[in-house]
């Protein structure tokens, strides 16, 4: 009788463990399958799509034009413009934004497009770097990004792997006062709503973006800081390695999607 009771208890425990395991699998919907990944463009309203589709209506065009001017303006002690080394951006910058952030051998880590522009300024133009989110830096990044519109996002550089993993760790780690992770919204609950706002999959396909809420253009790092403030977590500073690792991971996660820079989002 005692033996029977012990066995019964064991079966109950095994069943309970099994149910828990199944529950965990159901709650933590894993990474979005590649076939289901889509740009936030597919989720925005008709009016916002129209704004993005027509360069004449897209306010980010104002930054693209400013970026073109800066591209051809001599700067710094070297007295050189971007165009003096890189020539026509339409040729030399085609595809660049689709593979950024890229690995920088000298820095032994990834740098994003804005950082690359500033490295070019300090190293080659001998000029002061632009401030993060300054009109000038956004304008140049948007102009460079625009040259890759419609191209597939890819980052197959093996050296980026550890940084992708570091970014993934941040993405899946719970943080902040409400103890949320990025993945809980953007992997597990995309397509549902937070109040009236649709939760997108969170692919950075069109940065820098013109965000209607910002009434302005902004970088991916600004967007990441925005999300972290929303999670009531301490946002990482502009240019912090954590932010860049997140950018690398998110671009890897969005691989295969088409770049839309400059996109318009609500």
């Amino acid at each position: 009788m005692i033996v029977f009771a012990t066995r019964w208890w064991r079966y109950a425990l095994a069943a309970a463990l099994l149910i828990t395991a199944v529950a965990v699998v159901v709650i933590a919907r894993a990474e979005i399958p590649l076939s289901e990944r889509h740009s936030g463009y597919d989720d925005i309203g008709r009016d916002t799509k129209a704004m993005q589709d027509d360069d004449m209506i897209n306010p980010a065009t104002l930054w693209v034009l400013d970026g073109e001017t800066l591209w051809n303006t001599k700067a710094g002690a070297a007295g050189r413009a971007c165009a003096d080394c890189h020539g026509q951006a339409a040729d030399s910058m085609k595809g660049v934004a689709a593979r950024y952030p890229a690995y920088d051998a000298a820095r032994k880590g990834p740098v994003d497009l804005e950082q690359r522009i500033n490295i070019c300024r300090t190293d080659h133009q001998k000029a002061m770097p632009f401030k993060f989110e300054s009109k000038e830096l956004l304008a140049l990044a948007t102009y460079v990004g625009r040259q890759s519109r419609g191209m597939q996002i890819e980052n197959s550089d093996e050296r980026l792997k550890p940084f992708i993993e570091a970014g993934r760790k941040l993405f899946t780690q719970r943080q902040g006062q409400i103890n949320l992770s990025c993945a809980q919204c953007h992997d597990d609950n995309w397509g549902k709503h937070l109040a009236s706002s649709l939760i997108p999959q969170g692919h950075p396909t069109g940065y820098p973006i013109y965000r209607l809420e910002w009434q302005s253009l902004g970088s991916l790092q600004r967007r990441l800081r925005n999300c972290m403030i929303g999670m009531r977590a301490e946002p990482y500073g502009y240019g912090a390695p954590e932010n860049v690792n997140m950018e690398v991971f998110l671009m890897w996660r969005a691989r295969g999607l088409k770049l839309e820079t400059p996109a318009v989002r609500p």
Partner: protein, 106 residues
């Protein structure tokens, strides 16, 4: 780096209805916001927009603080004759911007 974008067809048939699209770079600061230390941010908006066709006013708009940054104004007119379509924006702090485009009407 104030800048405006104008989109008007280069050529049109006489009597044809044409669409005019304008987009201008401006922060449109409402005057109702406060900065990090609680000081009010002064209003800085475009207050009026005028479009003339060969000197004749064909469209006019008064703008208010509720208008979004980088105002996009679009409207229609009838192509009557070849000439110049001119645009003028005026606003706070002496903001003044002009643009003009040529149109061929046949």
């Amino acid at each position: 780096m104030a800048r405006a974008l104008i989109n008007v067809p280069k050529a049109a048939k006489r009597g044809q209805v044409i669409e005019i699209k304008t987009l201008i770079s401006h922060i449109m600061e409402t005057g109702f916001r406060h900065d990090d230390v609680g000081q009010p941010i002064p209003r800085d908006i475009i207050t009026d927009f005028v479009c003339t066709y060969n000197g004749e006013q064909i469209f006019r708009a008064d703008l208010y603080p509720a208008v979004a940054a980088n105002p996009f104004i679009t409207f229609f007119t009838v192509a009557t004759e070849s000439g110049t379509i001119a645009f003028e924006w005026n606003g706070d702090n002496g903001f003044h911007e002009t643009e003009s485009v040529q149109i061929m009407v046949e």
